[in-house]
Symmetry: C2
Subunit: 374 residues, 2 copies
């Protein structure tokens, strides 16, 4: 993987770069739609092709469905999905820890119960790496211990120690077990430390020494105040190597993306545009619409006059509301496509403003509009 | 509406025609996807655009959702859907009668309970015509009394009498109440008479005298033997005026379409390709696939090598099976698009064979393949 920084904003830490995997070139900052099981919920892959270069799959989900054997026999996930772009896979750590009660967490890994059939499974750093080799993402993630929020300093410190210990195990496994398909997989460690600045600083300093191809910030956006998310991000991006991509995991709303970019983040992923879309929430340049509201019943204007996709121009607000009230899956699809497209459009505009050193003021003026309820 | 017969097969009653509404030209024989509430379940309208020229909406469903006021204020259903092609609306009769227990059927019409909120509503021939004026389909259907199957001769005869009585009421209403949008609506009466040849003959002879713009055959494919469906269709198409389009309502499987065409039918509609698609049944030139079967788990070949749509070439059998097992709505969408596209392809091939007087033998050779279980 190559990463070239093209431009840094004069008035913020915002930057434009190009990330190149063996499958595609990706302009950063980038938003990666979440395709945990190899598809973005309610969004046909052929619609995704038109919009984006990279999606994110999940080790936990893909391990159960369709299973490693199916993916391996297909020649990896790109072949299985017939996806020409790049794919990042998360390690499954976050998913396993979010099912906390069913798990037994030891020094070696985690014993957990499958959400699908209740059977028991054991994931270790080595196992997650092995599965990610078989899945075949272009970028693969460390298997980390993600503490929930809130979490005491003592618990956060102990958890961070385990994350760093496991990180070494991931590296060892990958060194001894090279790629099994004919393209490169890049490995990103994940920084943890909850909301404690000294733990976060320690994590960033230690992990920066590893000269990884990219760095991820995990364990944020779990319920802490936005100010806290931004402050910690700010702290971390000051420490992380400038020339490597930084990925802020699980973030967020349109405004959060702009704040993250402003703090020097290059990569984002989040279920928000599709999950909220499925519930009728549409993000636009004028603000947030709840398309199910009576207000839109006889509004026959197109979904989004500034929208870049076919669905924005083809369908009216009134028609989409009708689809939602009729509970057809098309409603979810149209809203999800719109929201993803809006996210890509937002990042495109961000890049243009960074290029002209106008990002900081543009962000300040646009955020109140993005958050307005229509 | 104009209808021009282009060609009749030398060895069957199969024919090719062109039906022209104020919105579009449609080559017949045609299959009309069912969009009861203004959308085909699981199939985005922008996908439908690519495939077809006419869909069929339903008076009963549209009356409740989105409601006549929303459709009227939009300027009719074409504007509401942003649909450039033609639209036929069924009268709601069949839907009301299929909820038999909740209904009170009088000489004037039917009192029934809404499936949506349990409120009571009264539909008469006049009311159905009025609603269809407001919806604004290019072709609108008579409000008929559709007896269930099986049904005694006495009941069928009484029901047929009512259908003919109501038909006159439909005509009177339409004569006194012209179109409310700036395009023509054509009216099709519906033939009834259950499976009784003399009642069917009587219905066809009486209704043929009306010089309608087209004729529909209702009350078939309700559970009677296939032979009975075909025999009655054969009887009716011998009586109906040659120069007018004939529409066999609610039919059917690929083989049923070919048999219908062979008997001189020009128009079909059915939920079958989409409903069965949503359950994982795919129709192909090689036979019928249940894509959920274990058999397809590691079959990475494209969905349908002879398929005409993007989904046929983009997705593998293995991937579609994965989507079905994961229960995502995309599975239903891809299977529905495939099946509709297959139906259109089938009719396209039928037309080519009619044109060359090869339809009859082609039909005979192809039907066993179409019915084979893969």
């Amino acid at each position: 993987m190559k990463f070239n920084l093209i431009k840094t904003d004069n008035y913020s830490k915002a930057r434009i770069g190009v990330l190149e995997t063996d499958h595609s070139k990706i302009e950063t900052p980038i938003f990666m739609p979440v395709a945990s099981k190899g598809y973005v919920k309610s969004v046909p892959t052929h619609e995704l092709y038109k919009m984006c270069e990279i999606t994110i799959g999940n080790t936990y989900h893909l391990y159960f469905q369709p299973g490693i054997e199916v993916l391996h026999k297909a020649g990896g996930i790109h072949s299985f999905l017939n996806w020409k772009g790049s794919i990042l896979t998360d390690s499954g750590g976050f998913q396993i820890f979010s099912l906390k009660k069913l798990n037994k967490n030891t020094e070696d890994g985690v014993l957990f119960k499958s959400m699908i059939d209740g059977s028991f499974h054991f994931f270790s750093p080595e196992k997650s790496m092995k599965i990610q080799r078989f899945i075949g993402g272009d970028i693969i993630m460390a298997f980390d211990d993600c503490p929930s929020f809130p979490c005491s300093y003592t618990v956060a410190k102990k958890s961070l120690k385990k994350t760093h210990f496991w990180l070494k195990k991931c590296y060892s496994y990958l060194q001894e077990n090279p790629e099994i398909y004919n393209y490169k997989q890049s490995f990103f460690p994940i920084l943890q430390g909850s909301i404690y600045p000294d733990l976060r600083r320690f994590s960033a300093e230690e992990i920066s020494l590893l000269e990884a191809e990219g760095y991820a910030i995990g364990g944020l956006s779990l319920g802490e105040e936005k100010e806290e998310t931004y402050n910690i991000t700010d702290l971390l991006t000051d420490i992380l190597p400038k020339k490597k991509p930084r990925y802020l995991m699980g973030v967020g709303y349109p405004a959060d993306l702009l704040e993250g970019i402003s703090l020097g983040i290059d990569m984002f992923d989040c279920v928000l545009p599709t999950r909220n879309g499925r519930h009728g929430m549409l993000f636009t340049w004028k603000g947030i619409m709840n398309i199910k509201n009576k207000k839109w019943e006889k509004d026959y204007s197109c979904l989004d006059e500034f929208g870049k996709t076919d669905v924005d121009q083809l369908y009216s607000k009134s028609y989409l509301r009708h689809l939602f009230l009729s509970k057809d899956s098309l409603a979810k699809e149209i809203a999800s496509i719109h929201n993803l497209s809006f996210y890509f459009h937002l990042l495109q505009e961000a890049k243009i403003h960074i290029m002209h050193n106008k990002f900081f003021y543009w962000k300040k003026s646009i955020i109140p509009l993005l958050q307005k309820r229509l």
